[in-house]
Symmetry: C2
Subunit: 337 residues, 2 copies
């Protein structure tokens, strides 16, 4: 079985985006926001949005299940207040729930959180509980920068975040650390802000004792871990200079990397420096890069090809990367018989 641990619902019916646009307009005009019931999307529309996109690509590429969450770019936690974020988040999560109910063998649900800049992350607990306990979600996406490129909230290792972590541990759900859109003109979203977010989060973990406080807390750092594997020697060296424990001991029981790296040499490096048990297969399709690589004629984000072609992996290694690690990290994942 091949589990893709990182897919966003980037192809949702336009009506969802339309609702969000009305919500933002109402906010700007200081009018009453649209009601959740103002959004009407049929099951057929959901099916149509997936059949020729994620489901077709799953079939073509030979992957089985996508761990599926709302579009990361659209989380846009910086817009409006915590109430704005909450209303939008519930709507997006409910859409994921419907998709996973329609296609329980193809998608497993991960939720976005109603984060808002300057608002304690404890405010995300009710939505996390609703999603996990009532609707079978198996994880969440956590935005380390709800301000959208200005990095105004405390680092992920600050006690500011601890109430949410306590709930994650209690529910036994991991978080993928994933920024959203950038409203800072310095940062291109998918080309800079995403990758910087990954690198930043890793370095926050490296300098803290977060995992002494939460030995079972689990994070996936997407996009192949940002810059981290490429600079693995730098990170080993910085940790050593700071008299921190070796990285394996310090954080590799808690921090995992996905395989959203869109060329063979990048994947080869990832597999060479990061232990196999810390790598989860992912493609982020349909996502940041949609074209075909003229160098080989395949989609840049068809990451399964790179892993299949990577030298030196045993059958057991591949099983871990494609399935075993995802089942361990997303321990609530249960597939229908």
């Amino acid at each position: 079985m091949i589990i893709d641990c990182h897919g966003h619902y980037t192809t949702a019916p336009k009506a969802l985006e339309g609702w969000r646009a009305r919500q933002v307009q109402a906010l700007e005009a200081r009018l009453a926001p649209p009601a959740p019931t103002d959004l009407s999307i049929t099951d057929d529309e959901l099916r149509e949005s997936l059949e020729n996109a994620q489901l077709r690509l799953q079939r073509e590429r030979g992957t089985d299940l996508t761990i599926f969450s709302p579009r990361a770019m659209a989380m846009a936690h910086h817009i409006g207040t915590a109430r704005t974020s909450e209303a939008w988040t519930r709507l997006c999560n409910d859409m994921i729930h419907r998709v996973c109910t329609l296609y329980p063998r193809s998608f497993a649900p991960v939720c976005q959180l109603p984060q808002s800049p300057g608002v304690p992350p404890a405010n995300c607990i009710p939505e996390l509980e609703r999603c996990v306990r009532e609707r079978g979600f198996i994880g969440c996406n956590l935005n380390p920068d709800p301000s959208g490129g200005y990095w105004k909230d405390p680092p992920l290792t600050d006690r500011w975040w601890y109430p949410l972590y306590e709930k994650m541990v209690e529910l036994d759900v991991p978080a993928m650390v994933h920024v959203s859109a950038s409203c800072n003109p310095c940062f291109h979203a998918t080309g800079a802000h995403y990758i910087n977010g990954d690198t930043t989060a890793f370095m926050q973990f490296l300098t803290s004792d977060l995992f002494r406080d939460f030995p079972t807390l689990k994070f996936i750092i997407p996009h192949g871990g940002g810059a981290v594997p490429y600079h693995w020697g730098r990170y080993r060296g910085i940790a050593q200079d700071m008299k921190r424990p070796p990285l394996g001991e310090l954080l590799l029981k808690n921090v995992f990397f996905d395989t959203c790296v869109y060329h063979q040499p990048g994947i080869d490096l990832l597999l060479k420096v990061i232990p196999v048990e810390n790598i989860l297969f992912a493609s982020e399709m349909v996502g940041a890069v949609r074209g075909i690589d003229p160098q080989n004629g395949f989609h840049f984000d068809d990451t399964k090809r790179y892993i299949d072609a990577a030298p030196g992996l045993t059958a057991q290694d591949r099983f871990q990367i494609y399935e075993g690690n995802a089942r361990r990290v997303f321990s609530r994942l249960k597939l229908p018989a």
Copy 2:
């Protein structure tokens, strides 16, 4: 000949730091700042600061010349006003000039710039001219984020920066894009802010027509290009999705990467994906990582070992990386006979 294109004067005599501390204290107390003449460092003190540090390491590692600039972390452009920055910058640059005058075969000078958040970069022109025309400097370090981790100034591709670029082109000097300290608690300086700065700058270049406006402008992106080579497929794909020209055409005539990547797999990847003519040897010693890698018994930042051990390089490739490219990019570099 082996040219290390990226070294900072991290071992300068303590008196320099002391002067800066008095400058900052005066600023906070709203008193008159110290005068440049309040700093007294003898030539012997300069020699001593280098003999057992950069010069010893050059000899031990078999490198010849370091392109040498003030300590990046200490530029701290976010402190005080443009006048604060200017006074500190002149002092730091003069120190580099003295070092290069004492050791003309071992060091070639690169200046910091008196940037200040919110102040047009045109204000850096007089100091750049002074350094290049009067004191033989061959390049400058350009901070893409003078705010120190809040990214408040426009992207490097904004016209805001153009007057400085016009002067760089006129003087034929390249800039290394190098952030300074981070005062944002989210960003560890050498582990996150540095690497993020590199990735961010590259993506700014990718999305702009800067090099159509300045066909001879040259930038070095340090730390192996941040996350860029590891995600080279992502960047090729994003450029293609945006209907930009291929990266080679779009920016590789103008953008170069150094080799400050502190493990063999990282260097191997860099050499595999980035054309040889765009790679300049560098170690950043004495810098971000000072320890010895327990995996091989050598210093993490002894990057020459990785390049010497990299497979598939021809003698001509090595010449380019170690010397030829640096001479081309730093075209004002002239060594004493």
